[in-house]
């Protein structure tokens, strides 16, 4: 199965790096959607089938925490697995997000292996399924 993946980050460079790293992981991808803030990210989620969302925390207009909170209030969107990708160093803040229900946290910068592992973990892919 190939996945539809949403990348929400205000940095076009980081979105490009995530896409490039995704290619290196070998994860089957159907379509990649991009959004420069949480507001646009929510619009993409409402209009498309998304299997997994990578969300930055600090963004203008709507940050990642506000976007995730909106997703968890929504009957359909709360089922979309979310991985936070950020330089955020505060364990307290990360734990708060995990308690809210995100599937994982990836600290920038990251290796392709780390990205692959967190995708497998978030989508419930077993190693022997590959």
């Amino acid at each position: 199965m190939a996945y539809n993946i949403l990348i929400v980050d205000d940095s076009s460079i980081i979105r490009a790096v995530v896409i490039k790293t995704l290619e290196l992981t070998g994860v089957p991808v159907n379509k990649i959607f991009q959004a420069e803030n949480g507001k646009v990210g929510l619009e993409v989620l409402h209009n498309n089938w998304i299997d997994l969302a990578f969300v930055d925390i600090n963004m203008p207009v709507m940050g990642g925490v506000a976007m995730i909170e909106e997703m968890f209030k929504d009957d359909l969107l709360h089922t979309v697995p979310v991985v936070v990708v950020s330089t955020e160093g505060s364990k307290t803040r990360i734990n708060e997000l995990i308690e809210k229900g995100i599937k994982g946290y990836l600290r920038k910068p990251f290796q392709p292996e780390a990205l692959r592992d967190i995708i497998d973990q978030s989508l419930g892919v077993q190693k022997d399924e590959e």
């Binding site: 460079i13 490039k20 364990k91 910068p109 290796q111």
Partner: protein
């Protein structure tokens, strides 16, 4: 300034750039900054503040045109030849990531630090004035290109 603190920034710089841009920067001998003139064409700078402690400081990373274009080209797998908005975006992200990794290391001593959003400065003749404290420059080399990490902290 604590030497361990400088080491955290050296390690973070090498880790971030080797992971993101597949380059292995080599750190030179640190020295005390004597001029406020920017050391290179494009710089990212941010403030770092201890939470519940008095320690505060700032970090600047200054890239020569050659070094940042090499880094960006490696990051994206495509050639870049001018300092444009995309390059400034990348400098901001690199500054953030280095600060994040160094702050994580610093937090292992039980101290927490917050960082401001980075500011990007373009132009070699700009002056960057830090706190009224000694500032340490760590020079780095990637092949024949140079960049500089400038850190300034109160104890």
């Amino acid at each position: 300034m604590n030497v361990k603190l400088a080491n955290h920034f050296i390690t973070a710089t090498v880790n971030v750039l080797s992971t993101m841009a597949f380059v292995k920067p080599v750190a030179g001998t640190p020295y005390i900054k004597t001029s406020n003139k920017s050391l290179a064409e494009v710089s990212g700078t941010l403030g770092i503040t201890g939470i519940g402690i008095k320690t505060k400081g700032c970090m600047t990373i200054a890239f020569t045109k050659g070094s940042i274009l090499k880094i960006i080209s490696n990051m994206l797998g495509e050639s870049h030849e001018t300092i444009n908005a995309e390059v400034c975006d990348a400098v901001g992200e690199i500054t953030n990531m280095i600060s994040g990794q160094a702050r994580k290391k610093l937090s292992e001593n039980g101290q927490s630090f917050e960082a401001s959003i980075p500011t990007i400065i373009v132009g070699k003749d700009q002056e960057i004035h830090h706190l009224k404290l000694p500032s340490v420059i760590i020079p780095f080399k990637i092949d024949n290109e140079h960049f500089f990490v400038d850190i300034c902290f109160s104890d």
